[in-house]
């Protein structure tokens, strides 16, 4: 299996309120199609690591490579374009744009990518919603969806550009058991059948146990992988 993500000796410091070494020489690799859970106690640096991998936080030492492309040192604009094409996000809160319909929320990243025509984008967005069993809510304004529904729309949004990696920051943290199960199954299926890589930070031991691989962190270091 080919490697899609490489982190080499990644170090990160917080300077506020006082200097603090959050991540210490983190090195690891992730393979294509892997379902990876990042676990650890609060403050161990797992979320910080995820946001470094997400390319949104660029203030670190070391090297990060995704899909064979070295991302360290790229400009913000290039990173934004890279995220758009290669990374999909699912957060603990859905963060849908409240003024837009569920369908439009899913379409926006694809319109930004501008690879397909508008009608193709619409069809693809519909397809993704259908995959998540949300097609009936496509035209509903996103602020009127329930928590579980919104989270599923958010996952559809993360999938719209067929990203290499899907990153989740406690993607089920705000869901009940039934919805957690649904979301987990969807992610699992994406990894196994479509070969998309999943990296999820989670507090939920059950969720982690069912994933392919667990990286456990403590005090800024990887203690188990």
């Amino acid at each position: 299996m080919e490697t899609v993500l490489k982190a080499k000796k990644v170090n990160k410091y917080f300077y506020e309120p006082e200097e603090f070494h959050v991540l210490k020489d983190i090195s690891f690799e992730v393979r294509k199609g892997e379902f990876l859970s990042l676990i650890g106690k609060s403050g161990c640096g797992k979320s910080t690591l995820l946001y470094l991998l997400s390319t949104m936080d660029t203030d670190y030492k070391g090297e990060i490579e995704i899909n064979g492309m070295r991302l360290t040192g790229l400009k913000q604009k290039q990173l934004a374009a890279f995220r758009n094409e290669h990374i999909g996000f699912v957060f603990q809160f859905h963060f849908l744009l409240p003024e837009f319909s569920a369908l439009k929320n899913v379409m926006l990243p694809a319109e930004k990518l501008n690879r397909y025509s508008k009608s193709e984008i619409k069809d693809r967005a519909y397809e993704k919603l259908k995959m998540l069993d949300m097609q009936d809510f496509a035209m509903k304004q996103s602020s009127k969806l329930s928590g579980g529904q919104a989270q599923r729309v958010a996952i559809a949004r993360a999938l719209i550009n067929d990203p290499t990696i899907i990153m989740g920051d406690e993607p089920t943290g705000n869901l009940d058991t039934a919805n957690t199960q649904i979301v987990f199954d969807i992610l699992k299926d994406l990894a196994s059948s479509k070969g998309q890589t999943i990296i999820a930070v989670t507090h939920d031991p059950e969720f982690a146990q069912k994933s392919d691989r667990i990286i456990e962190m403590k005090d800024g270091e990887i203690i188990k992988q």
Partner: protein, 418 residues
Amino acid sequence: MIGVNLEIARTHLLAKKRQTLVAMMGVTFGIGMYLLMISFMNGFNEYLEDTLLSSTPDIHIYNDIKTDYTHSILDQVSDTTRMLNIVHHPKPKDVTPNIRNPKQIVSDIKTFDNILAVSPQLSSQVFYNNGPVQLPGSLNGVNIMEEAKLTNLQDKMKTGAIEDLMKVDNGILLGHGLATKLNASVGDLVTLASPQGTSMSFRVVGTFQFGIGSLDNVRSYVSLKNVQQLLGKDNQYVTDINIKMKDYTKAKELAAVFARKYGYKADDWQVANASAMVSIAIRNMMTIVISFTLLVVAGFGIYNIMNMTIQNKLKDIAILKAEGFAGGDIIQIFLFQSLTIGLFGALLGLILGYAMSYGVWSLPFPKNEYMSITHFPVTFHVRHYVFGVVFGMLTTLIAGLMPSLKAGKIDPVAILRG
């Protein structure tokens, strides 16, 4: 690419219609009031300048009688190194207020560039006799066709026509106020008495109104020859030369040239109307200051609303950035919003400004027999409207730019992590 950004901006604007409308109204009122102010002030200034210019020549050449008595003719006969000559209470003697060689000067002035008309005049103080009542006034002896080029007198006639002055023997054109006081109308005879005591009768051929009381109540025009007759002077006797230029802004320089060349005093129209020019300048200044304030206040309104919008949309901005929208895209989204507010606000402002200006223009001016004005003077210049839109857009661009740049720099990690 830009299409998505515009679509997001449009959705934001339409989602908060009331807020968008309020921000727009700020610009609309700012520009509307600016247009009303500038149109009204400009109209008033133009009216005033027009009135002043038509009643004052661009350059006025006259003999300024000297009252310099520091030298006495005695100095020439007695030696001033040994003694002092003291003359008590000297008076001028044999001083004539006329311009020598007027014909030569007139034809010489006509050789200059930029000269439209030259009108030699003989003006004198006179009394208009109305039964036992004597009204003081001024009589101008002119070549009426040249004078008409200077003052547009033909447009200011209330009754009669200026050409009649040449057709009728001893004809006279009376100021409207003067004619009213004399109870004289076209065809009537009026008797004028000169300071020397001579008197002559003239037949009224018309009345004129400049719209300036101090002129219309005292002035009258007759032919140059008639005044020379009344005063008992020869046909070369002229006291003033009035000049109209093609470009009156050059009057100042040319007046100085004439003064040096002919040795007489030459005043340009700005000197003659110095106080009016100052009040025009002050009004212009005031208009600019008030207009600027109105537009800047509208700008602050937009700045405020954009700041609030962005503060409320921090999460949306963060998620857009996570989805792959760059800082530049975020700036575009919010800048487009403020520019839309600015553009529509400004266009509505044009309509409002035009409507209000039109309203003021339609108002009848309080009836006034001294001023020839029927409604409030308002101008409708395209350049004011263009400037209004450009400045309105510029204000909203600047007001929107600062919050938008801030939005573009927002760090998504800090917001997404909570």
